[in-house]
C-alpha cells in the first residue's frame, strides 16, 4: 500500500498533507530553479572568463544595470509575497479547529505523554477515529516539550501552566509515531508515543472499554455533578441569571470584559479562573472566588470545562 512517503516528506496520513506537501513541493521547485540558475551562471562565467594570462584584465567593467537590478529585486519580492499568502492561508486552517471536533487532553512530562479522554479514560497512546477532526488541548507538567506527528504534519509546543491546542483529521487507519521535539533533558529522544487511527466503531468500543476512574459518565455529566458537589452552584447560575459570579450559560467562546481588558473565554481562561481567580475579574463582579488549585484534579477541571461548554 502506498503510504505517500516521498524522497523529502514522510508518509501521508492527515488532511494537512494536502496543505503542507504542495507548498513544500512548490517551494522545492522554485529553489531548484534559482539554485540551478545561479550555479549554471557561476560555472559558465567562471570558465568563459577564466584568466589565461597572468596579467589578463576584465573585458568590461559593468557596474550596474538598473533594469536588471530592479528585476531581481521586484521578482523575488513578488514570489515571497505569494509564498506568504500560501503559508498564511494553510496555517490558519491548520490552527483553527473546525466545529464538531472531538477533544483529547494531552499531558507532557519528562519523558512521557498521557492522553485524557472525555469519558475519563487515560491512555499512553493516542487512539482516534479516522476521518474525524480531533483537537488536542495540551499542557506540560514540568518543562517545555513539543508534540509532533510527522505523518500528520502537526506540531505544537507544550508548555507548563498554559494550554496550547492543535487539531488534525486522520485520513487513513494505522499507527503513526509521535515525537517530542523540544529538548527536555536526558531522555528527550525517547519521549515518543504513537497515534493509533482506527475505524469509528473500533474507537467507540475501545473508549467504552478503556480504563475509567469509576465515574462511567460523559464529561458533561461528570461536570454537572461537580457543579453541585464542588459548590459552583452557590455563585454561578446555569440559566443566565447573575449571581455572585457570572452565569455559565453561553459563557464559553464569549468575549468578556474584565478589569484587564477584553478576554476570550477559552480553556486557558477557564483554567486560570479556577486556579488564580483574582487574575482577571469580569466587570461587575468582585474578586471573591476561592482558589481551586490543588482542590480539583485535572480530570475534574476537564469535566467542568466540558460542562460549561455544553451550556449554550
Amino acid at each position: 500500500m502506498d503510504n505517500g512517503k516521498t524522497f523529502w516528506l514522510p508518509e501521508k496520513a492527515s488532511t494537512f498533507t494536502s496543505i503542507v506537501d504542495p507548498a513544500f513541493d512548490l517551494y522545492l521547485w522554485i529553489s531548484v530553479f534559482f539554485f540551478g540558475l545561479i550555479v549554471i551562471l557561476i560555472t559558465v562565467f567562471t570558465f568563459k572568463y577564466l584568466r589565461r594570462r597572468p596579467d589578463q584584465l576584465a573585458t568590461a567593467q559593468i557596474t550596474h544595470n538598473l533594469t536588471l537590478e530592479l528585476s531581481w529585486t521586484i521578482i523575488p519580492l513578488i514570489i515571497v509575497m505569494a509564498l506568504f499568502f500560501v503559508g498564511m492561508k494553510g496555517f490558519l486552517h491548520m490552527r483553527v479547529a473546525p466545529s464538531g471536533y472531538m477533544q483529547v487532553n494531552v499531558k507532557g512530562q519528562k519523558w512521557s505523554w498521557s492522553f485524557e479522554y472525555p469519558a475519563g479514560a487515560v491512555n499512553d497512546t493516542l487512539v482516534v477515529p479516522v476521518n474525524t477532526p480531533v483537537k488536542l488541548a495540551m499542557t506540560s507538567r514540568d518543562v517545555i516539550h513539543s508534540f509532533y506527528i510527522p505523518a500528520f504534519r502537526a506540531k505544537a509546543d507544550v508548555l507548563p501552566n498554559r494550554w496550547n491546542a492543535i487539531w488534525f483529521q486522520a485520513t487513513r487507519t494505522g499507527v503513526f509515531p509521535v515525537e517530542c521535539t523540544q529538548y527536555c533533558g536526558t531522555n528527550h529522544s525517547y519521549m515518543w508515543t504513537a497515534v493509533k487511527v482506527v475505524e469509528p466503531e473500533v474507537y467507540q468500543e475501545w473508549l467504552a472499554n478503556a480504563s475509567d476512574p469509576g465515574k462511567g459518565k460523559t464529561p458533561e455529566q461528570f461536570g454537572a455533578l461537580l457543579y453541585q458537589k464542588r459548590g459552583c452552584n452557590a455563585c454561578h447560575s446555569i440559566d443566565g441569571s447573575k449571581g455572585v459570579g457570572p452565569s455559565w450559560k453561553g459563557l464559553y467562546g464569549r468575549q468578556e470584559t474584565t478589569n484587564v481588558g477584553m478576554v476570550m473565554v477559552d480553556e486557558a481562561y477557564l483554567k486560570e479562573s479556577m486556579m488564580v481567580p483574582t487574575a482577571k475579574i469580569v466587570t461587575g463582579f468582585q474578586p471573591v472566588m476561592p482558589v481551586f488549585q490543588g482542590v480539583l484534579s485535572e480530570r475534574e477541571i476537564a469535566a467542568l470545562m466540558a460542562y460549561i461548554k455544553s451550556l449554550k
Partner: protein
C-alpha cells in the same frame, strides 16, 4: 608624514616578547591574538561535534550516554556561537583590516580594543570553566524552565555569555566610530570597500541587539538564584517571555554572524575577477537593510511556541522581506563575474563555495518563513542543516577565505597555493556531504537534539558522519598549510593579488602605523582597469 618614523616598521618586529603582545594597543596584534584564539575554539567546538557525530553512527549507544550527548551538543553550540562565529570575522579579520582599509593608523579606541580582547578571554575562560564545573545540557538556547535548574554549569555559561556580549558591543562601537571619524582624505562613504559597509551594519546590530541578551541572561540568573517569577511558570512567570527576549537578540545575532561573511565575499570576488562589484550601492545598502529588518522578525523562531496567530502572521510577513536583500547580493556577486578575469586561487574557491552554500542556506531559511510548512519543519534536522549552511557553510567558509586572502598581508608569508586549493575542495565536499542529507532527514520528520533515532534514519546519519571526517581532513589540511607557511612560506609582496583596496597599498606585513604616508583616496575601492580591445 606619520610621526615616530623610527618605530614605524613591520608591526611584528616593533616590540618583542609576550608582554609586548599582552599589553599592545596595536589593532593588528590584537587581531592576530583574536585569530589564534578563535581558531583554537573552533577546533574545540568542532571536536565536540565530531564526537557526537560518531555517537550518532548507530541509533543505540555507541560510546556516549544520553546525558553526555546532550552536554556535547550544548558545548558545541555555546562555543561555536559565542566564542567562534559571533566574534569571528569582526574580531579576527575586522580588527586587523578595518583601520588599514580606511587609511587610518588604528581604530578610534585602541585601548578599548584591548579591553574587548580581554573580555573575550575572560568570557572564554568562564565558559570553559563551566565545562569542568558541571554538566550543562540545556542547549545554547537555554529555554526556561529547563534552564532554571540552578545547575552551576548552566549559571557559569550564562555569566560567560554576558561577558562575551560586552566584548562584542565594544568591538562594534569601535568600528562604527572609526568609520565615521577616521576615514582617510578622499574616502567618501561610497569609496569604502564593501567589507567596511558589512562591518558597519554588523556594528549596528552588535550595539543594539546584544544589550537585550545581557538583560535576558541577568533575568535568567535572577530566576535561577532568587526565583523572582519572571520566566518560571510555577512562580507566575512566562516562559514565552524568555523566548521573546532571547530571540530579540539571537535573531540579529545570526545576521551579526553572516553579514561579515558578505563583506569578505565582496572583497574576494572583486579581487579575483579583477572587477568592480556589480551594483555596489545595492550591495552596500542591502547589508544595512538586513541589519534593520533583522530586528523585527525574531518571532519566526516561535511559530509553534504558542504565540497568537496574529503574531505568527506578522512575523512571517516581515521575515520574507529579509529574503530580498540577500537575494540581491547573490545576484550582484554572480553578475560581477561577467566579463571579469577570473583567477581560481584559494580565496576565490572559498568565495565560490560561499555562493553555493549561502544560496542553499538562504533558500532553506525562506521556506521556514512559510507558516504552514514551518509547522512540519520546525525543530527538526532541517533547521540544523539550514543554520549550519549559513553559520558554517557561509560564515566560516568566508572567514577561512578571508584568512587566506589576507594571510600574506598579516604575516608577510605566502602559503602553498596547491595545498590551499586542495584543502578548499575537500572542505566543500565534506561540508555538503555532512549537511545536505540533514535537510532530507529533517523534512522526513527527524527531530533535532536526538540521541536516539528511528532505524530508517540511520543511513542519513552515517552519510553525515562520513562527511564530518572529510570536512575535518579538509579543515586541518588548510590550517596546517597556513601554519607551515609561517616558517617555510615565500616572502609576500605588498600586493600579491593585484587588488585595489588600501591595505594592498602598504607593505606585507604593514608597518606599525599602517602607512608611511597618510593615503589620499581618489577613486573607488574596486577601480580595476579593462583589457585594451
Amino acid at each position: 608624514m606619520i610621526a615616530h618614523v623610527h618605530d614605524n616598521i613591520n608591526y611584528l618586529k616593533t616590540k618583542k616578547g609576550i608582554m609586548s603582545w599582552l599589553v599592545t594597543v596595536d589593532h593588528k596584534r590584537i587581531g592576530m591574538m583574536y585569530l589564534a584564539s578563535i581558531l583554537l575554539f573552533f577546533i574545540t567546538g568542532g571536536t565536540f561535534a565530531f564526537l557526537f557525530r560518531l555517537e550518532l553512527w548507530s541509533p543505540l549507544k555507541d560510546f556516549l550516554t544520553p546525558d553526555q550527548y546532550n552536554q556535547f551538543f550544548t558545548l558545541h553550540g555555546v562555543i561555536m556561537v559565542f566564542l567562534v562565529v559571533v566574534p569571528g570575522i569582526p574580531a579576527a579579520l575586522g580588527n586587523f583590516i578595518v583601520p588599514i582599509q580606511i587609511g587610518a593608523k588604528d581604530l578610534a579606541f585602541p585601548k578599548l580594543n584591548l579591553t574587548s580582547l580581554y573580555l573575550y578571554w575572560i568570557g572564554a575562560a568562564v565558559a570553559l570553566w563551566s565545562i569542568v564545573a558541571g554538566h550543562a545540557d540545556q542547549g545554547w538556547t537555554m529555554y526556561a524552565p529547563y534552564s532554571l535548574s540552578q545547575n552551576p554549569a548552566v549559571l557559569w555559561m550564562m555569566v560567560a555569555a554576558f561577558i562575551l556580549g560586552f566584548s562584542s558591543i565594544l568591538t562594534g562601537l569601535n568600528f562604527i566610530v572609526t568609520m565615521h571619524t577616521m576615514r582617510a582624505p578622499g574616502m567618501t562613504w561610497y569609496r569604502m570597500p564593501l567589507f567596511l559597509w558589512a562591518m558597519y551594519a554588523t556594528g549596528i546590530m552588535q550595539i543594539f541587539a546584544t544589550p537585550v541578551l545581557a538583560i535576558t541572561l541577568i533575568l535568567l540568573l535572577m530566576e535561577n538564584f532568587f526565583g523572582i517569577g519572571i520566566f518560571d511558570p510555577a512562580l507566575g512567570g512566562d516562559p514565552l517571555l524568555m523566548q521573546h527576549f532571547f530571540w530579540f537578540y539571537s535573531h540579529p545575532a545570526v545576521y551579526i554572524i553572516v553579514v561579515p561573511g558578505f563583506g569578505i565575499t565582496s572583497e574576494l570576488i572583486a579581487a579575483f575577477a579583477k572587477k568592480d562589484i556589480f551594483g555596489y550601492r545595492f550591495v552596500a545598502y542591502s547589508s544595512v537593510a538586513i541589519a534593520i529588518i533583522g530586528f523585527i522578525v525574531w518571532g519566526h523562531h516561535m511559530f509553534v511556541a504558542g504565540q497568537s496567530e496574529l503574531a505568527d502572521t506578522i512575523f512571517s510577513f516581515l521575515t520574507f522581506f529579509t529574503a530580498v536583500p540577500s537575494a540581491i547580493k547573490v545576484f550582484n556577486w554572480t553578475a560581477t563575474l561577467y566579463k571579469g578575469s577570473i583567477d581560481l586561487k584559494t580565496p576565490m574557491l572559498y568565495a565560490l563555495q560561499f555562493l553555493w552554500n549561502f544560496t542553499i542556506g538562504g533558500l532553506t531559511g525562506i521556506i521556514l518563513a512559510i507558516l504552514s510548512v514551518d509547522i512540519h519543519l520546525h525543530d527538526t534536522y532541517f533547521i540544523v542543516s539550514h543554520f549550519h549552511y549559513v553559520a558554517m557553510g557561509s560564515t566560516m567558509i568566508a572567514f577561512i577565505g578571508g584568512i587566506h586572502y589576507w594571510w600574506p598581508k598579516m604575516t608577510g608569508k605566502m602559503y602553498n597555493e596547491s595545498v590551499g586549493k586542495l584543502a578548499s575542495i575537500i572542505v566543500f565536499v565534506g561540508f555538503n556531504v555532512t549537511f545536505f542529507v540533514q535537510l532530507i532527514m529533517g523534512s522526513l520528520g527527524s527531530p533535532r537534539r536526538y540521541y536516539h533515532y528511528w532505524d530508517q534514519f540511520q543511513i542519513y546519519h552515517q552519510i553525515s558522519t562520513v562527511g564530518v571526517f572529510i570536512l575535518a581532513i579538509g579543515l586541518f589540511t588548510a590550517l596546517i598549510n597556513l601554519i607551515v607557511s609561517l616558517w617555510t612560506g615565500a616572502t609576500a609582496p605588498a600586493n600579491p593579488w593585484g587588488a585595489k583596496t588600501l591595505e594592498w597599498q602598504t607593505d606585507s606585513p604593514p608597518p606599525l602605523y599602517n602607512f608611511t604616508e597618510t593615503p589620499v583616496v581618489t577613486h573607488g575601492p574596486y577601480a580595476f582597469e579593462t583589457e585594451k580591445a
